[in-house]
């Protein structure tokens, strides 16, 4: 999926400054700029209107996914073909769909599968990809060779093609299998990012100092090296959440993702594309929600990258 590759190139800016302070360090007085990287970043982000708007939008969509009953009191499965394809009105904010179900409720409940899939797959790639990248970058040598070769192999399988093959053959197309295939095909990117920033920070003085005082490998990795690699990982994870939302909808649209009794934006778009001329809102509402979500994640990622990179200050 080209979304993923573009997100990858967008992030390729390299790791943040090697000798940034350890996060959550309490601000010590005395100097003029004494706050940690993260406090600085937070201040800058809160002043950035684009980030704030995108963040609020994600909060709204997130709350739709987590607590749909807060947003609508109607049941999306309460359908009546007598009211098929009604225009938007006070009673039905988004009108009704072809089967006469309330479209607004469908849109609210449709947020959940996309967000759950994106979140599960992203957590999985961060944990697994991050760990493998850390191991490869820290140990080098044959560990690095093996992990890098495996990453190369996964890279050469185009995302959408791999997902279509897997989902066609497995036939069970539900939240779990879709998350699994997104994870399987996307973890190498994050591993490569982490590997790069680990390699660039593992020869720094404080790492040698930690080793000299006898810190174990795991302590050096997680306490001293990982905090430096977290910033680019966070940026990529934010952007990849957006690409996963888009990927889920794309797979569903192609007919290999979630199947119709389920509710999702991809199903709304693919089921109603033929009614566009008479009732364009049937297509425009889900498209708008979907594009807004993806856009917000990408803008948040961009703002995060600018805020976390000391070179831009």
């Amino acid at each position: 999926m080209s979304d993923l590759t573009s997100a990858g190139t967008a992030v390729g800016g390299g790791p943040v400054g090697g000798d940034g302070p350890v996060p959550n360090q309490p601000a010590t007085g005395g100097k003029e700029r004494s706050a940690s990287l993260w406090a600085d970043a937070r201040r800058q982000l809160m002043r950035d209107p684009v980030f704030v708007i995108a963040f609020l939008y994600i909060l709204v969509v997130g709350s739709m996914a987590a607590f749909p009953w807060l947003w609508t009191s109607q049941d999306p499965r309460d359908c009546n073909t007598n009211r098929s394809r009604l225009s938007p009105s006070a009673e039905h904010l988004f009108g009704t769909d072809i089967l006469g179900c309330d479209y607004y409720a469908h849109a609210i409940y449709g947020a959940r599968p996309s967000m759950v899939i994106a979140l599960m797959a992203t957590v999985a790639i961060v944990v697994v990809g991050g760990l493998l990248g850390l191991l490869a970058g820290y140990h080098g040598g044959w560990v690095d060779t093996i992990i890098s070769r495996v990453m190369d192999i996964f890279f050469s399988l185009p995302f959408l093609l791999g997902a279509i093959v897997f989902l066609t053959v497995i036939k069970r197309q539900n939240i779990w299998t879709i998350s699994l295939v997104l994870f399987l095909l996307a973890w190498p990117t994050i591993a490569r990012i982490i590997r790069g920033s680990v390699i660039s920070s593992k020869d720094l003085d404080y790492v040698h100092a930690a080793k000299a005082v006898g810190a174990r490998n795991s302590r050096v990795m997680f306490r001293h090296i990982l905090p430096n690699a977290i910033a680019p990982m966070l940026v990529y994870a934010t952007i990849v959440l957006g690409s996963f939302v888009a990927a889920e909808a794309t797979l569903t649209f192609l007919g290999v993702g979630l199947q119709p009794p389920a509710q999702s934006w991809g199903i709304m778009i693919s089921a109603h594309q033929v009614y566009f001329l008479e009732d364009p809102w049937l297509l425009l509402f889900p498209c708008g929600l979907l594009v807004g979500t993806v856009l917000s994640f990408i803008l948040m990622g961009d703002a995060l990258r600018d805020a976390l990179d000391p070179k831009f200050r």
């Binding site: 999926m1 080209s2 979304d3 590759t5 573009s6 997100a7 190139t9 967008a10 070769r149 495996v150 190369d152 192999i153 996964f154 050469s156 399988l157 185009p158 995302f159 959408l160 093609l161 791999g162 279509i164 093959v165 897997f166 989902l167 066609t168 053959v169 497995i170 036939k171 069970r172 399987l184 957006g242 888009a246 909808a249 794309t250 649209f253 192609l254 007919g255 290999v256 778009i269 594309q273 566009f276 001329l277 364009p280 297509l283 498209c287 979907l290 594009v291 993806v294 856009l295 990408i298 803008l299 961009d302």
Partner: protein, 353 residues
């Protein structure tokens, strides 16, 4: 450079084998965990066991290792007992598929026993035209927009390109395709078709909601542009960044100082160096475009490889999907190899040793 080329070619072999194994293992695991994919063809009905058996054998799902969960299907117990080098085992399903692909050019058959290679041969001209339009569109427009924005950093043009690229990146290609088809192909096309003075080639051929066999090239222009639009944004951004980097380089200042015209400074001195990463991206993008073609061809009903994949996926003909995707992956790997080699030729700074 010679050593680099040889090393890259040698690396190519394990990458191809590894990717083929990955594809093979993913599909085998899926079959092992969800049962015989042939059953999906019958829906709710229960097929006669003999028929099921026959179709399973014919489509190549008959190997017993597909019943053992987690088995990578690399080796199987030899029937005669001796096996390969006397180990009692002989090469299994994976090696059968490999030799089928590489020695017999056999990518499997569909339900009617037509070879996947035949199906692809019928479909490939359409996909090829579509990809050509997409790549030309994204290269020309993307590089032009990138140069325009890069030369005037921080200006209106720069911001316009920046904002529009973010928008294009965040619109999934199928949303873009469906909206363009309905707005441009149907609504705007209907307006054009109502006017008598517009030639049919434009009103019926170009602005069409779907592929028309009467206009094999014209009716692919809009689908091709949709396909190119997503990578267009990345191309423009990449060109912009690399122009901005190079415009400050010493040799550009020298060229300006010795009084060359602006056209020559930009066109020859700056652009040539700035385009190296862009060309690499365009090459790598062929793979992404092939995946994107699956979506675009489905939306615009183009009878190419992409629609072949979706239609087979929807009807559950997994043997066709596996065969076509294997073929596409090999093409992508080959394209990546060529890009890497081209990179070494284009950029004299690269001396991989």
């Amino acid at each position: 450079m010679g050593r680099y080329v040889i090393r890259r070619l040698l690396q190519f072999i394990p990458t191809v084998l590894g990717t083929m194994f990955l594809l093979h293992y993913i599909t085998s695991l899926a079959i092992q965990f969800s049962g015989n994919p042939v059953r999906a063809l019958f829906g709710d009905r229960t097929p006669p066991p003999a028929l099921l058996q026959a179709i399973t054998e014919r489509l190549g799902y008959g190997d017993p290792c597909l019943d053992r969960r987690g088995d990578p299907c690399l080796w199987r117990a030899a029937e005669g007992g001796g096996g390969w080098l006397g180990t009692g085992y002989e090469p299994g399903l994976f090696f059968d598929r490999l030799s089928g692909v590489f020695f017999h050019f056999d990518f499997g058959v569909n339900l009617r026993e037509r070879a996947v290679t035949d199906l692809v041969a019928d479909a490939i001209p359409f996909t090829f035209k579509l990809l050509l339009i997409a790549i030309v569109f994204e290269a020309v427009v993307g590089i032009a927009a990138g140069v325009w924005a890069g030369l005037r950093g921080g200006s209106f043009a720069d911001n316009l390109v920046k904002i529009s690229t973010v928008f294009i990146i965040s619109v999934p290609i199928f949303v873009l395709g469906v909206v363009v088809r309905e707005f441009v192909g149907v609504k705007f096309g209907n307006v054009l078709r109502g006017q008598d003075w517009i030639p049919d080639l434009i009103s019926v051929g170009v602005f069409t909601p779907g592929f028309k066999p009467d206009y094999p090239f014209a009716s692919l222009i809009i689908p091709g542009m949709v396909l190119g639009a997503v990578s267009l944004a990345t191309t423009a951004r990449l060109t912009r960044t690399s122009i901005m980097e190079n415009i400050r380089a010493d040799y550009v200042r020298t060229a300006k100082a010795k009084g060359l015209t602006n056209k020559r400074v930009i066109g020859v001195h700056t652009l040539r160096n700035s385009l190296i990463p862009v060309i690499t991206f365009l090459g790598v993008d062929i793979g992404a475009a092939m995946a994107g073609a699956v979506v675009t061809e489905t939306i615009f009903n183009v009878p190419g490889i992409g629609r072949l994949v979706t239609m087979s996926a929807r009807t559950g003909e997994s043997s066709v999907v596996i065969g076509v995707v294997t073929m596409l992956v090999l093409v992508v790997l080959l394209a990546n190899l060529l890009v890497d080699l081209l990179y070494a030729v284009l950029d004299p700074r690269i001396r991989y040793e």
